[in-house]
Symmetry: C2
Subunit: 225 residues, 2 copies
């Protein structure tokens, strides 16, 4: 028989998925706006951020309310507190997409420094990591969460490559490129920070599932609590 | 009569203060290492980060354990969930101090680009905001939390000033300064991100106290829940 709390936990899952979809969309659109020099799209991302902030507060309230009403133990409690963390990470991701949109607006009226290839590639990695991390949470899938962790070094490498190229091949050779190159460098760093947030989510999921495993096998606990 | 839970909540307060002290120390030392070109200090900050990560996990576990054992309602529950958020913000702040130490190591063997004045100033603002934000939590002091929010625009302004100077007066005029200037620019951005985390903490404190006010005055609620 399904407990009433199960229904509400499913709702929480749905809310997190919705928050995740918003965050993914914001990343995607922020890089589209950069690629297509689309001022309206960049502005819309910035405007939309308020809605995402509101959804974050709403989910947060729901989680506290769930805990207060059901006083859930072990597994459910851990699921809810992990949900609160994810919610917060996703809001940060959307914030970073807004940062990207703001950097984009700074350079949108100037000619492109170079064809954008690596930045969209890094954005794809970031979106994919966020998507996998949320799926890992929703399915309590520790293997998928580990896949997210494995993607992070690729993102780091690509970010370093982009940074090195912008500094050495552009700024050093021709200082006048610096104002534009700095904005692209920051955008690459923002994308890599999104990957870090996806990594945080994946770690939280692993911790959620493993703590559960430990609770079911108390011999694995250090302090016997 | 003091409840047993009160004793444990006091312990939680102490843990958060300890975490806060670690984070503040990490910020301070990261900028000292930069100013004094102190390689050992920079390396130590990076090594110490593991300890801070461990403390974060420990506090997180304590919070979940507190909720599971006492099934606290309203005020206490909100204090604990806010504590979990703060704990997470403070760990991020320590992470950023580690980022600063890493950037510092990149430029430590090269001559200083310029005397460091504004970056230490920004670091002071950041440390002060973090300190005030933690105090605001420990004392549930909404006025102090609001003071933190009022400091953030100053940090933004100073960060923009530093960035503008590094780009326009250094990189554009002499491209060969770019590798060092980029690292300083990133350090300034890291400090400003610490201020953002302090702002998040302050907002969480305001929300914690105000939600409490609302719970005591249900007529203020929108949906009557």
């Amino acid at each position: 028989m399904e407990r009433h709390v199960d229904q509400e936990l499913k709702e929480l899952n749905k809310d997190i998925l919705k928050m995740g979809a918003f965050a993914e969309e914001a990343i995607y659109k922020s890089i589209e706006a950069l690629k297509n020099r689309d001022k309206e799209m960049a502005k819309k991302i910035i405007e939309n951020d308020d809605k995402i902030d509101e959804l974050e507060l709403l989910i947060d309230e729901k989680c506290i309310d769930l805990i207060a009403r059901y006083q859930p133990m072990a597994k459910d409690l851990r699921f809810i507190t992990t949900g609160m963390k994810l919610n917060n990470e996703l809001e940060r991701i959307a914030d970073i997409a807004m940062d990207i949109a703001q950097r984009t607006l700074e350079i949108i009226d100037k000619p492109l420094l170079k064809p954008l290839i690596d930045i969209p590639k890094l954005s794809e990695i970031a979106q994919n990591m966020v998507k996998m991390a949320i799926d890992a949470f929703v399915r309590s899938d520790i293997q998928l969460a580990k896949k997210v962790l494995l993607s992070d070094p690729d993102a780091d490498k690509l970010r370093n490559l982009i940074q090195k190229e912008l500094v050495e091949d552009y700024m050093v050779k021709d200082g006048s490129t610096a104002p534009r190159a700095v904005q692209l460098l920051l955008i690459a760093r923002f994308l890599e920070r999104i990957c870090d947030h996806a990594t945080n989510i994946a770690e939280d999921v692993i911790y959620m599932v493993q703590a559960e495993v430990v609770r079911h096998h108390p011999e694995k606990l250090k302090d016997g609590k």
